[in-house]
């Protein structure tokens, strides 16, 4: 082997690319290419089998006239509007409660964290049974305090909210973990100084702790919003968008369009609109966050 070839082979460029190639290739093929292809698809009419046909902006033009699309977007926003405050707020409450050094705290922390690792399907099955209108534990317990019985997933008024309750249950632990880490990052001395300054517990929490949790809160709000808008598994498993269209959400709609009805171009357009919606929401949240959140240097 000539000296120059050997030198090239030993060069950093070759080494770098050799190391990075498998992962990058996979990500390009299964990540970057699909992103671009999807954009292309949104301008096409295609059923995934025959050759696609270019139709320009027709898919996008059809969206505002599509009642199912509008319904699903409304549901996605309602979902996010409830899911985010409940799970983030609930997570904060749980984290504050879990930030103690009392006996048994390990048990309590585990109990709160466990739902996070249970899969969406397993959670749905659990709650399908828990919320069974006829034989479920929930209706029985609620009946003991004079409430219900509820239809939960079978009721067109209550299905979406039942699903929200279930997913909040599944995600509170995640928020709690993040908040717990953030809480433990608040220097104890600050709390002591505030005590000496004359502040009571609630005032310390509101004026010292909460502002210092700002970055965690911002992250959780952005992350939860993105997840909420994309909800799919639970809806597909429990209601398939029903009763009627009471729980129709965008990802469910585009899944049905692409893989059940073969209208893939339109589905791609919906996916991109959803992406833009998420981006806009995220940018707004980050902008608000920048003005309100203090970042410790």
């Amino acid at each position: 082997m000539s000296v120059s070839v050997r030198r090239i082979m030993r060069s950093d460029h070759v080494a770098g690319w050799a190391f990075a190639f498998p992962a990058v290739a996979l990500i390009v093929v299964f990540g970057i290419v699909p992103i671009l292809w999807s954009a292309l698809m949104s301008f096409q009419k295609t059923n995934l089998l025959s050759t696609p046909e270019w139709i320009g902006l027709d898919n996008y033009r059809a969206l505002p006239k599509d009642p199912l699309f509008k319904t699903s977007m409304v549901h996605a926003f309602i979902y996010a509007a409830l899911f985010v405050p409940l799970s983030v707020g609930g997570g904060l409450f749980a984290a504050v409660a879990l930030n103690r050094h009392i006996r048994g705290i390990r048990f309590y922390r585990l109990a709160v964290f466990v739902p996070v690792v249970v899969s969406t399907i397993a959670t749905s099955i659990m709650f399908l049974w828990l919320f069974d209108p006829n034989f479920g534990l929930a209706n029985w317990l609620l009946g003991l305090v004079g409430l219900g019985p509820f239809g939960f997933f079978t009721s067109s008024d209550g299905a979406l909210y039942s699903i929200i309750a279930m997913t909040v249950w599944g995600w509170i632990g995640f928020d709690a973990i993040i908040y717990l880490a953030a809480l433990q990052g608040v220097p104890n001395e600050l709390l002591e100084a505030a005590q000496l300054d004359g502040a009571r517990s609630w005032s310390i929490f509101r004026n010292i702790t909460l502002p210092l949790l700002g970055p965690a809160t911002l992250f959780l709000v952005v992350f939860s919003t993105i997840n909420a808008i994309q909800v799919f598994d639970e809806i597909y498993f429990l209601t398939k968008g029903g009763p009627g269209t009471a729980t129709y959400v965008p990802v469910l709609y585009l899944f049905k369009l692409a893989f059940e009805q073969g209208i893939a171009g339109y589905a791609a357009a919906i996916a991109y609109v959803l992406l833009v919606a998420i981006l806009i929401l995220t940018v707004i949240q980050l902008w608000v966050g920048k003005r309100m959140v203090y970042y410790a240097s």
Binding site: L48, N134, W169, G173
Partner: protein, 298 residues
């Protein structure tokens, strides 16, 4: 600072699951705390769906069709579990899921380590641009890419095989990001010393860097495991034959076929949840660290 302390710190702050008795000497752990009144109901709420699932899985069908619900079964129906195994290829689903998950985790550990190291330590043409591109994929929601990915996988002839579940997920941006951050935090002198001693780049990675990366590798492994094991939408799109289904998908068909056999459905669910719960208890620290660091990434 000692080496291990540096590495520990660079792996990120970790909410303490264990009590650190040295941390707050003022706390009096032996006095009744009012917080128990808050924590206990909270823990109860978190656990009740699972507890109820387990109880139901051990009841007879008749007992489940009873209102008010029977809280304590008259006898423990262990055979519900064996019946599930007979009625559906549950063991097969479990095996499929296990194979897919293990291969995906192994692939991620290998490819993301290689790529992460390259991004961290090797200056190569286009490195920063490519890294940003990789990071960008983290922010793209799955539904945007799922249709074309489906087509690609179909073109590769992998539809309805475990390959469809494995190949697209062999390397993810999450692992690359975490590992790159970690590698960058290690003191570079170690690697330089090894290279001077004659080790190749590959040798440095495998003999010096990776042995020091235990915690972050565990974190990537555990998070990837969790995500792969629980994945539903992608198997839903690509797998049709019950023999090739994963647990999550299989559970769905099981539920479809056994809607009224609640006791069996619960038993099936319990079996699907046990492996993840077990892993969680064993590797708590890494789950929690993985979740907490995804907060840092945000």
């Amino acid at each position: 600072m000692s080496m291990s302390a540096e590495i520990r710190d660079s792996a990120g702050a970790l909410p303490a699951l264990e009590e650190e008795s040295g941390r707050d000497p003022r706390s009096d752990r032996f006095v009744f705390s009012w917080w128990h009144l808050v924590l206990f109901p909270l823990a109860f709420l978190m656990l009740i769906p699972m507890i109820w699932m387990i109880i139901t899985s051990l009841q007879t069908l008749n007992e489940t069709r009873h209102f008010p619900p029977i809280l304590v079964p008259s006898s423990i129906q262990w055979q519900n579990y064996t019946e599930v195994l007979q009625r559906a290829p549950f063991a097969r689903w479990f095996l499929n899921t296990l194979v897919v998950t293990v291969v995906v985790v192994a692939g991620n550990l290998l490819f993301c380590s290689l790529a992460g190291y390259a991004f961290a330590r090797i200056k190569f043409f286009g490195r920063d641009v490519v890294f940003i591109l990789v990071l960008a994929t983290l922010m793209i929601p799955f539904q945007v890419i799922m249709i074309p990915t489906f087509i690609i996988v179909r073109k590769l002839g992998l539809i309805d095989t475990l390959g469809a579940l494995i190949v697209p997920n062999l390397a993810g941006a999450f692992g690359i990001f975490l590992l790159r951050q970690f590698f960058r935090s290690l003191p570079i002198e170690l690697e330089e010393a090894a290279r001077i001693d004659g080790a190749s780049r590959l040798g440095v990675l495998f003999k010096i860097v990776l042995p020091l990366s235990g915690p972050v590798l565990a974190t990537v492994a555990v998070i990837t495991f969790l995500w792969t094991w629980n994945d539903f939408l992608w198997p839903l799109i690509t797998i049709y034959n019950p023999d090739n289904m994963t647990l999550q998908l299989g559970l769905t068909t099981f539920q479809g076929a056994h809607q009224t056999n609640t006791h069996l459905l619960m038993a099936a669910n319990v079996m699907s949840v046990i492996p993840v719960l077990f892993l969680f208890f064993v590797a708590q620290r890494f789950f929690i660290r993985g979740i907490a660091t995804s907060g840092l990434k945000g």
